[in-house]
Amino acid sequence: MTEIPPFTGFGLGLRKDHYADYLAGTVPVDFVEIISENFMVDGGRPLFTLDAVRERYPVVMHGVSMSIGSAAGLDAGYLARLKRLADRVNPLWVSDHLCWTGVAGHNTHDLLPLPYSEEALETVCRNILHAQETLGRTLLFENPSSYLAFDADMTEAQFLAAMCERTGCALLLDVNNVYVSSVNHGFDPAAYLDALPVSRVRQIHLAGHSRGQDMLIDTHDAPVCADVWALYQLACARFTSVATMIERDDAIPPIDVLLSELDIARRLSGHGARYAA
């Protein structure tokens, strides 16, 4: 089983708009994060680009389709393709989300919420152990944003902690998701951070969100807001062996704008700033 290597630093997501910048090798980041599914293809320009980026930057793989909370178990074909990509990329680590995406062979392509019950915990842990064994590596799972909360036996943070305890998996803490869900469901985000196991949090996501009709929506289309920056500072005081990455998937600005935002993360983290500092 490949363990997650010690790694701290500041990175960005690899998006088409910035391919030329990364291929030039001039983007001052410590790592780049790819959306795994975008590169789980047979060939062509996506893999050509990824191979070139891989020569210049450490890469982490972040997936959206593992559906680790699926009551029906995992898709063997998906896992095989993910493993093929991981073997090719040799990433620092592979992550996905604590969610499910569909049933009976149908896929919503959304990160759907789980009930935080003992039954769900057993399902998720069974699936994580299966995925980790298939991929031969310890995985990270990200806390999702959610827009509804089922009656539950435990809080989301307690669920995540138990999940790590039972499977040995690690966590990708999305600070924006904690904030969005805390507003939507009325919980204390600081207490949420306190309930997570310090040693298991290895990466942090930052992103922007938008205000929907009834609640906040995790849209990744705006800069990180002040409240999320404040929560990030709290998180960095507690979790010190982490890599930080800013996600932007819509209304993507020029790379310099994201790099300026990443500089804010470097400054606020209080962690040793790497690369471009």
Binding site: G43, A104, G105, H106, H109, S146, L148
Partner: protein, 260 residues
């Protein structure tokens, strides 16, 4: 309720067609369900708009979004990759626009170009490689020559010059007034290097079909002679040369003995 039942119910609430007020759900959960339901539809339509950008431009926002929403109902996404949501969209459009064949044909072209973009990296046989391979060919070796094409290559018969529509939209030029072809022709899509290409074939289309069905170059010549007379053999050779030059041919192999 078990996890399996909950996930089935939730999935149905998010993806079922028509309007719903989630009457059989706890009122506390309904606003959230509405968010997931709206996001499902919006995400998939956005994906189809992105994959079929030129078809979207051709038929306009309203018609495209209605067709995309219909496609989600008749062919709900099944793959782990969002990109596959566009599979069969040309068939959906063919049913929705029976009197406008260019709509489905344009969508087919866009879909196949997307597939070619990510197809396996087959090394194509180049002109120098083929010259080396065939330099000692006897007449029998030429006749026995079998050709296989690169993995991402696809072809179909089209009734319209959908390629001209694609090009006009891509280059922001005026779309030709008459795009209906006098007779159906064969449109080929493949990837040359890293770039998807397409090309409308002429008389060589029948020869291509012969090779795709496992026929030899000799069979192809015969097909072409039937269509073009004595010049068919020369045309077959010219067509094969063009396909090799354009990166369509993966492998060529003669089974008959060659000169030593």
């Amino acid at each position: 309720m078990t996890m399996v039942d909950l996930q089935r119910r939730f999935h149905a609430a998010v993806t079922s067609p028509g309007e719903t007020a989630f009457e059989d759900w706890d009122p506390v959960l309904r606003p959230g369900l509405a968010v997931y339901r709206n996001a499902y539809r919006a995400r998939l339509i956005e994906c189809l708009r992105s994959t079929f950008e030129k078809t979207w431009t051709w038929i306009g926002d309203e018609s495209f979004d209605a067709a995309a929403a219909h496609h989600l109902i008749v062919k709900p996404p099944q793959s782990w990759t969002l990109d596959d949501a566009g599979a069969g969209f040309d068939e959906t459009l063919a049913q929705l626009f029976p009197n406008d064949p260019e709509v489905a044909e344009l969508a087919w072209l866009e879909w196949q170009m997307q597939q070619a973009f990510i197809a396996a990296d087959d090394p194509a046989l180049d002109a120098a490689g083929f010259a080396a391979l065939s330099k000692d060919f006897t007449e029998e070796a030429w006749a026995s020559l079998r050709v296989s094409f690169v993995t991402g290559m696809r072809s179909r018969r089209v009734r319209t010059d959908c390629g001209a529509v694609w090009t006009a939209i891509a280059t922001d030029r005026e779309i030709p007034a008459d795009i209906l072809l006098a007779e159906a022709r064969t449109l080929v899509v493949w990837r040359q290097g890293l770039s998807p290409r397409f090309r409308m074939l002429g008389s060589e289309a029948a020869g291509l079909e012969t090779l795709q069905q496992g026929g030899t170059f000799g069979d192809m010549c015969e097909t072409m002679v039937k269509r073009l007379g004595a010049s068919g053999i020369e045309e077959a050779g010219r067509a094969l040369g063009v396909w090799i030059a354009q990166g369509l041919v993966r492998r060529a192999e003669a089974s008959a003995q060659q000169n030593r």
